[in-house]
């Protein structure tokens, strides 16, 4: 019985001792082992995940997250090289590369946050200040970001932290500038609206005047052709008349005159006749004998 008890006691002791002596570094983590406060000569930097032993009281192991982490910066006003003031909101993607350096210089991950805050805004402001806003809105963005990342790493790598990316999440006009921006947008739209309407009028005028031109040309051409046709008719008629009448011009003149009298003299006409005229010669010739025609 006492043997059983002793075994149980031993097991409990081993378990408790194990809990104190064994540290598991997870796949997500990295550790830093110290011996009496200084880096452990057996291996201080525990990059590989696995089971690690320590002697309680002599050694201690600090655990850090070694995954890619994000630092979320507050949005800040930045002046670009073209004088434009913008509100930028960025995040920093970093990972703890060397837990020893971090432990020695910054101690904890919480203090790293404020250190990141201090050391990211400067490079962001400086780098953006060298470029006009247009550069950020273009393909050059990549180069700007690389420059910020490089500058941050100059400060952070000696502290065991590697910045892998800095990225602008938002670039906005400061709230105070929004009214002007809206005004500018409205003016631009008004310009477009006017342009579209003017273009409409332009095209409409072109189309209408072209239609007017076309129809007038159609009429003019028809006028020309009809004059020709009329002329042709007149010419042909004249030649027909001339052909016929030239066969006896004298009779034509006579006959045509008679016809003209019929047409031009009517009841409104007063004629003064002479008894000598051939028409009346029989009226006053008592003899009533025939005479030769005049």
């Amino acid at each position: 019985m006492t043997r059983w008890l002793a075994l149980l006691l031993l097991l409990a002791t081993v378990a408790v001792a194990g809990a104190f002596c064994i540290v598991v570094v997870d796949e997500r983590e990295t550790g830093f082992r110290t011996l009496l406060g200084g880096p452990d000569p057996l291996g201080a930097v525990l990059l590989e995940p696995g089971l690690y032993l320590r002697v309680p009281g002599l050694q201690s192991i600090d655990i850090y997250d070694k995954r890619l982490q994000r630092f979320d910066a507050d949005s800040q006003e930045v002046q670009f090289s073209d004088g434009r003031l913008m509100e930028v909101d960025y995040y920093v993607a970093y990972r703890i590369e060397n837990p020893q350096l971090l432990r020695e210089q910054l101690r904890s991950q919480e203090r790293l946050q404020s250190f990141l805050d201090d050391n990211s805004f400067g490079p962001v402001r400086d780098a953006l200040g060298k470029y006009p806003l247009d550069a950020l809105l273009s393909e050059q963005r990549g180069a700007v970001i690389a420059e910020i990342t490089r500058e941050m790493n100059e400060k952070l790598q000696p502290r065991g932290v590697l910045v892998s990316d800095v990225r602008l999440r938002r670039t906005d006009y400061p709230e105070g500038n929004l009214p002007q921006t809206y005004q500018r947008m409205i003016k631009e739209r008004e310009r477009f609206a006017r342009k579209f309407r003017a273009e409409g009028e332009e095209q409409a005028l072109k189309l209408r005047s072209k239609a007017d031109l076309d129809s007038q040309l159609l009429r003019a051409e028809a006028g020309r052709q009809s004059s020709e046709l009329r002329g042709e008719g007149d010419a042909k008629a004249t030649s027909v008349y001339a052909d016929a009448y030239s066969r006896d011009p004298d009779f034509y003149a006579f006959q045509r005159s008679l016809e003209a009298y019929r047409r031009s003299l009517d009841a409104e006409t007063t004629v003064i006749l002479s008894p000598q005229m051939p028409f009346l010669r029989h009226l006053f010739d008592q003899a009533g004998k025939r005479r030769a025609t005049p």
């Binding site: 995940p49 995040y91 273009s138 579209f196 409409g200 409409a204 159609l218 028809a222 008894p275």
Partner: protein, 309 residues
């Protein structure tokens, strides 16, 4: 007694083994993925199905890998119906390449494709994805004019943003696959919407003016064509009439001439008399001896015929 003790020891062993087997068994559901860590170190990934592991030396991490969605520029408060949304003005405000502001609401759909990457490469993957998506869409939007964003290139923007997010997600090794980026509402800010609407109206006006002018052209050109043809027909009629008249008159003249030639003097006399006969009735006639005209003429009521009784 000794036998019993031996059997009970075996039973105890079997019972312990059974218990351990029960503890070591696990099942990954169809919508899950799992990762087994042995003493902290990655050991293996497991897909849907029955599996065993060795606790306490091994540790199991399991996650659902269904399609997740992240909303930008708005949040669904109630999935409804009716749905309720809440706006996020700052999140949807973006600057276009021509330095205009456009409000863009969009949804990103993604799912975990590699649980190992998802768990071990980055902390706070969801938030990373949100950051990346916002940076990506602003990059894409900032390379276009506001007109391009508002109109023709919406599909293109969604596709490019999806690719860009995937690129960054891969670079960070987040273990996600971006299924889709769906642009919801893309519109100019409220403050300038009227101006944008007016541009749309102006375009309509332009089309209307052009259509009206085309209508005018369609009306007056055929009219003119008709009038022209009418004019030509009139002229043709005139020509034919003139020629036919001439032919008719000359035919009559020729006939007359033929008769006249047979007895010129008589015919001439006849024609003359017939004509006078036809025109003199109804006329006022004054017969004056030759040489008397000068004396009589001043007394005649010439031009006042209507007044004489």
């Amino acid at each position: 007694m000794k036998l019993l003790a031996r059997f009970s020891g075996l039973a105890l062993l079997l019972a312990l083994l059974g218990l351990y087997g029960y503890l070591a068994y696990f099942q990954i559901e169809a919508d899950e993925q799992g990762v087994v860590l042995r003493l902290g170190r990655y050991a293996r990934s497991v897909g849907p199905g029955p599996h065993f592991y060795l606790p306490p030396f091994e540790l199991l991490e399991r996650r659902r890998v269904i399609v997740e969605r992240a909303e930008f520029g708005f949040r669904t408060i109630k999935t409804g119906p009716p749905q309720e949304y809440e706006e996020r003005p700052l999140e949807k405000r973006m600057i276009t390449g021509d330095q205009n502001i456009v409000d863009t609401e969009f949804v990103v759909q993604y799912r975990i494709t590699d649980l190992r990457d998802y768990l071990f490469n980055a902390r706070d993957v969801e938030q990373f994805t949100r950051d990346v998506a916002q940076a990506a869409i602003r990059e894409v939007v900032s390379q276009r004019s506001i007109d391009a964003v508002l109109r023709e290139e919406r599909r293109q923007i969604a596709l490019e943003t999806r690719d860009r997010i995937q690129e960054l997600v891969d670079a960070y090794g987040l273990g996600l696959s971006i299924q889709q980026v769906a642009l919801q509402e893309v519109q100019p800010p409220l403050e300038v919407q009227d101006a944008f609407r007016d541009v749309a109206g102006a375009e309509q006006d332009k089309q209307r003016l052009i259509l009206e002018a085309e209508g005018y052209a369609d009306q007056i050109v055929p009219q003119a064509r008709g009038e022209a043809e009418a004019l030509l027909n009139e002229a043709r009629a005139y020509r034919e009439t003139r020629i036919l008249e001439a032919q008719g008159e000359t035919a009559r003249f020729n006939d007359l001439l033929l008769e006249y030639k047979k007895a010129p003097a008589v015919t001439r006399e006849r024609l003359y008399i017939e004509t006078l006969e036809a025109i003199l009735p109804g006329m006022e006639k004054i017969i004056v001896q030759d040489g008397g005209t000068e004396r009589v003429l001043p007394y005649l009521p010439l031009g006042r015929r209507g007044e004489t009784p």
